[in-house]
């Protein structure tokens, strides 16, 4: 899907830095990528790699003291092309929930506990689509039904605490797709859920992607979830994109030594009892003071002198790029 169609989102040289008392944290540092219509794209990486801040930058919801200090975020929709970086708060309010929907890890903290589910679902419909109460109510029931909530009409009057974790995440998805957005950003949508409930939610997100054509941007640390859901993968490390490829390429022919390390450290399900894992040595760098050149070089098994220079994202094959001077030859 992603090769023929046009991009809905183009991020160019995005830098989001946090101005803390101890110094400047380069949380997102010169990140460029595109997302195509209806595609499912994963952004993966470990804690602190900048994946969530990248997503929050797209929504312009960066927490204090973070700021976008450079870059462009172009959103192409039927109403034209806008650079989100240049939009005012007022203009962003029209885009959030309308053009871009977002769901978070912990649905309880993103739902308002003192308002009914119905109220919270109808609000964006009335606001963005100028529906009347009656229309919004009908649409809200339809949305709940679509995300698989039984007895939708009665449950409109319930409060978030009356729903289970999996059901709350379904409500969040219903809210996020209420205005038929171009992109659904899902930030660790199943991390807080049990594995049998996770399977239900992943199935639902896949259905929304395929049936409604919503582009899905999945932010996660779990490569298993990525393999289930996504067509293309962006791997981030220490605030930068280090590899970008279609899903088969990432798993079967990874080029960057960090991606390889990540794949090797995962316990594989299967009867390999007590087989030794191959962990990466060391820890991710402190983004107050990242290493010069390639940020992965202090932990990299293939490091050479040239790695003191920052490697750009270089083509490694069709639609496959990696930021490494000495990429793996035959995959891992």
């Amino acid at each position: 899907m992603s090769n023929g169609s046009s991009p809905v989102l183009e991020v160019k040289n995005l830098k989001t830095h946090f101005f803390t008392r101890t110094g400047v944290v380069q949380a997102v540092d010169d990140v460029s990528f595109s997302m195509y219509e209806g595609e499912s794209l994963a952004i993966v990486g470990e804690s602190g790699c900048g994946k969530t801040i990248t997503a929050l930058s797209l929504m312009k919801l960066i927490p204090h003291p973070g700021k976008i200090i450079q870059g462009e975020i172009h959103l192409h929709s039927d109403t034209g092309d806008v650079d989100l970086v240049k939009q005012s708060d007022r203009q962003m309010a029209d885009i959030r929930g309308n053009k871009i929907g977002m769901i978070f890890q912990e649905p309880m903290t993103s739902l308002n506990p003192v308002l009914t589910i119905g109220y919270q679902l109808m609000e964006p419909l009335k606001l963005h689509l100028q529906m009347t109460d009656e229309q919004a109510r009908k649409q809200a029931i339809e949305l709940l039904r679509r995300v698989g909530i039984p007895a939708a009409a009665e449950r409109l009057n319930d409060y978030p605490h009356q729903f289970s974790g999996g059901m709350r995440q379904r409500v969040m998805i219903a809210m996020a797709i209420a205005c038929s957005p171009l992109i659904l950003i899902a930030d660790e949508p199943t991390t807080a859920l049990d594995v049998t409930i996770q399977a239900q939610i992943l199935e639902l997100i896949r259905k929304m992607n395929q049936d409604l054509g919503v582009g899905v941007m999945l932010i996660t640390h779990d490569l298993g979830v990525v393999a289930e859901l996504c067509q293309r993968v962006i791997v981030m490390y220490a605030g930068q994109i280090i590899e970008e490829a279609p899903i088969e390429e990432i798993f079967n022919n990874p080029k960057h030594h960090y991606t390889i390390g990540l794949l090797r450290s995962m316990p594989k399900l299967g009867p390999h009892v007590k087989e030794r894992l191959v962990p990466m040595k060391g820890l991710p760098p402190d983004l107050l003071n990242p290493p010069k050149g390639c940020r992965f070089q202090p932990r990299c098994p293939a490091r050479q002198a040239k790695c003191a220079e920052t490697p750009p994202l270089m083509p490694m094959g069709p639609r496959h790029r990696a930021a490494c001077w000495f990429p793996e030859e035959h995959g891992a």
Partner: protein, 331 residues
């Protein structure tokens, strides 16, 4: 207090263990008298030097079971035979010396390490509590423990907040090793860690087991991690053990429909590899353990349940050598 021999190499035997919590009362008078059956009749044993994995979803009672075994909770009924002694009813003063033999590692090392104690004090606390060795000997032991878990000995005077999550978990492990325990209960010990750090800690646990002949009860929700570290696995659902077997038995030939669904629900980080089993997506949520379903607790979500399952609770039976399951239709 019965004292059994331990010639068969069993370190821990748990027999029909129950832990029920009375809830309600006070502000919640309308719920007074209700009972939450967190652990409801669990039987299994762990051999010396073995890793026994305990899996299940939130609320299945796996953590309560682990904590009842080390007597952080009073068992409601049943027996816990540790190293030949029934400890289920032992009083504090008799229990204390046995406690040295069993330790715990918790999920979140951020909250299980006292932020106002130095690393040396944290690791040395068990030595202090049991008055092991002189001050000098203790200091040496602390430095030795730090080296064993792969940390620098000069970290003794630092505080927990100065360490990363993986390093803090190593501190927790060093503390658990201080008294040379026989059994360590690892409760979601690597769940909070990033995958590259998780691999380091799993390898460390493995090395320590070989080096010191440790026995682990490894409690976790992640079946891939549990299958990786365990010799045998027990699967829990709503306070009961529904299946128990060797890791290859559970993985290659699961008997209980819940285990099958759990295995099939795990996202596999591979593409182009055909899944071993058809994905079974269970409907609905885990029911409340306050008012569990009648008959087999899994029947409302079970794809193969029949009328019989809603009335007749299945027995936990041995279906093949060393492979137990609680299901009328286990196959």
């Amino acid at each position: 207090m019965s004292t059994n021999g331990t010639a068969d190499g069993t370190l821990l035997a748990v027999k029909n263990l129950k832990k029920h919590f009375k809830i309600g009362g006070g502000l919640f008078k309308n719920r007074a008298g209700q009972v939450l059956k967190a652990v409801d009749g669990v039987t299994f044993d762990i051999k010396r030097g073995e890793t026994f994995g305990l899996v299940g979803e939130s609320g299945c009672g796996k953590t309560t079971l682990g904590q009842t075994i080390v007597r952080l909770y009073e068992p409601t009924s049943g027996q816990i035979i540790f190293d030949g002694t029934d400890i289920s009813e032992l009083r504090e003063e008799k229990l204390r010396p046995l406690r040295r033999g069993m330790q715990m590692i918790f999920q979140d090392p951020g909250s299980s390490l006292d932020p106002r104690m130095t690393v040396g004090d944290i690791i040395g606390e068990p030595l202090d509590v049991f008055r092991v060795g002189s001050k000098d000997e203790q200091k040496q032991r602390i430095e030795e423990l730090l080296r064993i878990v792969g940390l620098n000995a000069y970290f003794v005077n630092r505080y927990p907040h100065e360490f990363s999550g993986g390093q803090r978990q190593r501190i927790g492990i060093a503390r658990s090793l201080a008294l040379n325990p026989k059994l360590i209960v690892c409760d979601e010990a690597v769940s909070a860690l990033d995958v590259s750090i998780q691999a380091q800690v799993l390898n460390l646990l493995n090395d320590l087991q070989e080096q010191f002949g440790l026995t682990y009860l490894f409690v976790a929700h992640n079946l891939a991690v549990v299958a990786h570290v365990s010799d045998r696995i027990g699967v829990m659902y709503l306070g009961k053990m529904v299946e128990l077997g060797s890791t290859p038995q559970i993985y290659d030939h699961p008997l209980h429909p819940y285990t099958k669904a759990l295995l099939s629900a795990i996202p596999i980080p591979q593409v182009g590899v055909k899944k071993k089993v058809e994905r079974i997506i269970l409907t609905g949520d885990v029911p409340s353990p306050i008012n569990p379903p009648s008959g087999c607790p899994f029947h409302p979500r079970c794809p193969i349940a029949t009328q019989r399952c809603s009335v007749d609770p299945p027995l936990f039976e041995q279906k093949e050598s060393g492979h137990w399951a609680a299901c009328h239709y286990a196959s």
